[in-house]
Each structure stands twice: as structure tokens, then as C-alpha cells.
């Protein structure tokens, strides 16, 4: 070939060909990836559409022939719900759930629902959805075996309709079980019951209620539902203490404020992890657990199970030592020479500082931990009461003897770390 070229030039031609091949192969591989992903996604969506058609037909059959004909569809949608999670929002989950009915076709056909096996699309991407689907299908089969014929007959028509669109089951799971102060969703999330048992109980509750025997079992399970994480940290002082000792957190006041705000009553979105995303990741490994466990536990923190933070704990967290004892915190009444003069003075009650007043106005109450944390963390106090900064007692000297305009946090800690 190419007789006119030198040996090196011929080699260079080979190199350029190899480079072109590399670019071309990558392009082809990317195309294959994209195409396969699109095809599989389309297949799943088509399956969902077909399932919806089948669902509508089953609903018509149910009206014509009674509940029995549409029962198989119920099963599929039940799986769909579980696949989509307790919120029951995922359309894909609903679709695949219907496919579960297909996968277990041998068991479902007798209920008169004809879901073709070919509805289950094959593929190699979206493995998580497929794996979840297979698992749920198994759970569903087991669950249906546990239901009695009578229970199956009693499953309400409206419930079936809801199941078909992947919503109704979520509502049932969210509701408290009988007179228990816990829902099936709670028990599932805390691992007290298996997915199969969850399904069985859901279907039972939709079919007229859970029997006495099962209720007694659930009652036993519901005791101490607050899971390991919560029970370990029902006293947030421990959590805060650990938090305070974690030096990796750059914005401690900010994170602490979030923590306390949440534990004092603001609920946490367990899905988005609002408030706790960054905090949880920085917890010491020993108390991390899985992310699901953390979010599940934290989402259950409520004011009624969360004691307020004592000033001791607060001091420990903020200043590194308790205000009961320790070198850096003065616990006794402030000695006169160092007591604030002028319009700003520390309010001393007993042996511990309990607040700060300026004139007749009380700016900060150490016993109001919510407000204290919020003020300290956000600087709200110093923003709202600018005059505090101009008070002579706030202009403490720094270590080098230079007057320095201080903020409230520094005022409380003092230049040498002592609480004033």
C-alpha cells in the first residue's frame, strides 16, 4: 500500500486511523447506550400504558362479573404500590407492579385477569426497578396465599380502583391500626413487619379489618416502635453533645440550630432529608447507621418524646463545658469586679447564669433553649438589638488589650472563655 510514503509516514497513517477508530468506537458505544436506555424506558412506559388498558378492562369486568374477575388486577396494583413506596406516587412502580401479576401469571389467571407474559420487558438497564419488581412479586404471592377466600371476597371495589392507580394502598398504610398509635407504614419502615406481612395486613384492612389475633400481634410489635436510633437519642443532649465534639462541622451554630429546631417540633421530610442532610453525613460513624434508618428515626422525633435541652447541656454544647462545673465556665454568681456594669447586666439566679437583660428588657433567657439557640446561631439578637453592641460592657478588650466590638456570643463566652 501507499508506496510513495516513507516508513514513518505510513506509521503515522496507522496512528491517525487508530485515533479515528477510538473516536468512532466511543461514539458507537455512546449511541448504543443511549439507544438501549431509551428503548428500555419506552418499553417500560409502553408496558405501563398496556397495563392501564388492562386495568380499565378489568374494572369493566369487575362490574359485569363481580369482584372475582378483577381480583388479579388488584394484586398487580398492590405490587405497584409497594414498588413505588408508601407514597405510592411512582407511575413506573405501578406499571411494574402490574407486571408482577404477569410474572406470577399461573397464580393470578384464575382470578380472570389476563396479563400477557410478554408485557414484562427485558433489558439490562434499570436493574434496580427490575430487581425490586421481582422481589415484590414474590412477596405478593406469599401474601395472597395467606389471605382467606372470605377476605378476598370482601376487598372493596373502591379499594381495587385505588389500587389500580397506585394510591389507595398508601392511604391504608398511613392510617393508624385500630386503636394503636402506629401505622402499618411505621411498622414496615422500622422493620417490625416484613413486606409480605405488610401486604397481607393492608389487604385485610381493606377487606373489613384486621382480625383480633393479628391485632394482638401488631399491638406487641407497636410497643417501642421508636427504633434503635430514636431510642438511643431520645434525649437529644447526647446527640448534641456528640455533635458539639465533632470538629469537622464548619458551621456548628447553624447545624445546631437546625437540629434543635427540628427536634423541638418541626417535622422532617423523610424523603428529602431537609435539615439533616449535611448534619447526618458528619455524624461520627458509630452512630450513623444507614441513611434510611437515620431518616426514618429522625422523622419520628416529635416534641412529645423530645425533652427540652437543659442549660447545662446547652452550655456543654456551645462552650465545651457544663455550666455546673469546669474551668472555662463560671458557675457561681459573678464576682462584683467583673459583673457587667452600665445598662447591660447578667441576670444571675442561683449559681448559674440564666439570662441577659439590658435595663428592664430581657434579651436572652438561657432557659428558653429554642430562642437561645436561634439567637446565637443566627445572630438575630445582635441584629435586632444593635444597641447591645454599643453597650460599654460589650466592648471588651481582646487578648492584646485592644478594644473590640463584640457580638453576643463573644460577650457570653468572654475573651478568656469564661461565661460572664
Amino acid at each position: 500500500m501507499t508506496k510513495g510514503f516513507s516508513q514513518y509516514q505510513q506509521s503515522q497513517l496507522g496512528v491517525s486511523a487508530a485515533k479515528a477508530r477510538a473516536i468512532s468506537e466511543r461514539s458507537q458505544a455512546q449511541f448504543r447506550t443511549g439507544l438501549t436506555a431509551v428503548q428500555e424506558k419506552e418499553a417500560l412506559e409502553r408496558a405501563a400504558d398496556q397495563l392501564e388498558q388492562i386495568a380499565k378492562e378489568a374494572e369493566r369486568n369487575a362490574r359485569r362479573r363481580g369482584r372475582r374477575a378483577s381480583f388479579g388486577r388488584l394484586l398487580g396494583s398492590t405490587v405497584g404500590f409497594v414498588l413505588g413506596g408508601p407514597a405510592g406516587k411512582a407511575a413506573l412502580g405501578t406499571a411494574l407492579g402490574g407486571l408482577a401479576g404477569t410474572a406470577a401469571a399461573g397464580g393470578f389467571k384464575k382470578y380472570g385477569v389476563d396479563v400477557p407474559d410478554s408485557l414484562v420487558p427485558g433489558g439490562i438497564f434499570y436493574g434496580r426497578e427490575r430487581e425490586a419488581f421481582k422481589q415484590r412479586a414474590d412477596d405478593l404471592e406469599e401474601a395472597m396465599k395467606d389471605l382467606t377466600k372470605e377476605q378476598r371476597k370482601n376487598i372493596g371495589k373502591n379499594v381495587l380502583t385505588d389500587f389500580l392507580i397506585g394510591r389507595g394502598l398508601g392511604k391504608l398504610g398511613e392510617a393508624k391500626i385500630g386503636d394503636l398509635d402506629v401505622s402499618l407504614d411505621d411498622l414496615l419502615e422500622t422493620g417490625k413487619i416484613s413486606k409480605k406481612d405488610y401486604l397481607v395486613d393492608i389487604l385485610r384492612s381493606s377487606a373489613g379489618g384486621i382480625g383480633k389475633d393479628r391485632m394482638s400481634v401488631l399491638r406487641g410489635l407497636s410497643e417501642g416502635t421508636a427504633d434503635k436510633f430514636v431510642s438511643g437519642f431520645q434525649d437529644p443532649s447526647e446527640l448534641i453533645s456528640r455533635f458539639a465534639s465533632n470538629q469537622q462541622i464548619s458551621d456548628k451554630p447553624g447545624e445546631l440550630e437546625k437540629l434543635l429546631t427540628a427536634t423541638q417540633g418541626l417535622t422532617i421530610d423523610p424523603e428529602t432529608g431537609t435539615y439533616f442532610d449535611s448534619f447526618l453525613e458528619q455524624l461520627p460513624r458509630g452512630i450513623q447507621g444507614t441513611r434510611e434508618e437515620q431518616m426514618s428515626a429522625l422523622s419520628k422525633l416529635r416534641p412529645d418524646i423530645t425533652p427540652r435541652v437543659s442549660s447545662d447541656v446547652l452550655s456543654e454544647s456551645l462552650f465545651g463545658a457544663s455550666n455546673v462545673s469546669g474551668q472555662s465556665i463560671q458557675t457561681a454568681a459573678l464576682p462584683k469586679p467583673t459583673a457587667p456594669q452600665g445598662s447591660l447586666r447578667g441576670l444571675i439566679e442561683g449559681s448559674s447564669p440564666t439570662g441577659i437583660t439590658s435595663g428592664d428588657q430581657r434579651f436572652l433567657d438561657f432557659r428558653d433553649t429554642d430562642g437561645l439557640i436561634k439567637n446565637l446561631a443566627t445572630g438575630q439578637l445582635t441584629e435586632e438589638y444593635e444597641e447591645l453592641l454599643d453597650d460599654p460592657t460589650m466592648k471588651v478588650n481582646n487578648l492584646f488589650g485592644n478594644p473590640k466590638r463584640n457580638n453576643m456570643f463573644q460577650f457570653m463566652v468572654g475573651p478568656m472563655g469564661g461565661m460572664r
Binding site: Q7, V15, A18, T36
Partner: protein, 191 residues
Amino acid sequence: MANGMFTPQSSMDFLESMYKPLGVTQDQFGQYSQFLGEIPEELYQLTDPNADIYQQFRTERQGRLSDQLGETYTGLQSSLFQGQREARGMQGRRGFVTGRDFMGEISEAASVRGERAASAFGRGLYDIEEDIVDRVGAERRYVAGLEAQRRSDALRLAELAGLFNQDNRTMQPFDPSEMEEQDQYEDRRYG
């Protein structure tokens, strides 16, 4: 490995090096090799300055320089002979001294031109080596770019395939010794 040559990796080897430390089994990632382009082995060879192609380049360029130098010397030789003949003629017509001076000037000019030619030859040899170094550098950057693209593609594949789904398998805990092994591997690979 000499002089930091990159080591070729097939798609499967690459997937293994990427996913195995994370606990993904070969069964899981094996089916995804079709979605990654191969990086031709020839391109890896280009990252070695001792590769044949650079030897070819060196030989050809040096050959050209030698030819140029030879042509220059031949020209100088001819000039000297010509000048010598002319000097002899001058000696006969204008006297010995004039002819001798003329010959001296010609010799000196030829010497300067010869030195310049030799210097240019030396510079040419250096330029060839520098050119090779530049080419090797460019090829290494090119291969590194291809590898970076492949890693990016692998990440997207992992996401699509759900390879890091913790529901299906357990992630391997961090092991410092594995990190050391990885460092050693990279040292071996990139020199």
C-alpha cells in the same frame, strides 16, 4: 512501563478496575462492556518515547539532516577546488603573494561555512529529539483524555444499570490497604 508509558486496558479490565473495588461482581459489569469503546493499543504505544514509530521518525529526519550536511560539504569541497585553481592562475599572472592571499580567504570562508553547517546539523539533531518529546506528550494527553471519557461513560452506565443500588448488594467498607494497593497500581501504571 519505560519512561511512563501508559498500560493498555481492555474494556473488561477497565470495568474490573473501576467497579470491583466497589463490590460490583464481574457478572454484573460484564454485560456492560459493549457500551464502552475500546482504546486502540497502538495509541498506548505512542506514549512510549522508545516506540518504533519514533525511531522511524528519528532515522528519517537524521537521514535528511545528514544528506543536507553532506551536500553542504560537497559544495564546500567544490568551492575549495575551484578557488585553488583560480589561485594558481593568479600566482602565474599577478605574483605569488596575491595568489596566496586569495587562497587563504577562500579557505577561511569555507571553514566558516563548514562550521555553520556542522552547528546546524547539531541543532537539527536536538530539534528531532524535542519534536519526539512533544509528540509523546501530546499522545499521552490524548490517551488520558480517552481514558477520562471512558470513566465518565462507565459512571453513566453504572447509574443506568443501578450498579450502586445498596438494596441489592452491600457496598464494601473503606479499607486503607485497598487504597494503598490502588496507589501502587497507579504508580506502576503511570510511572
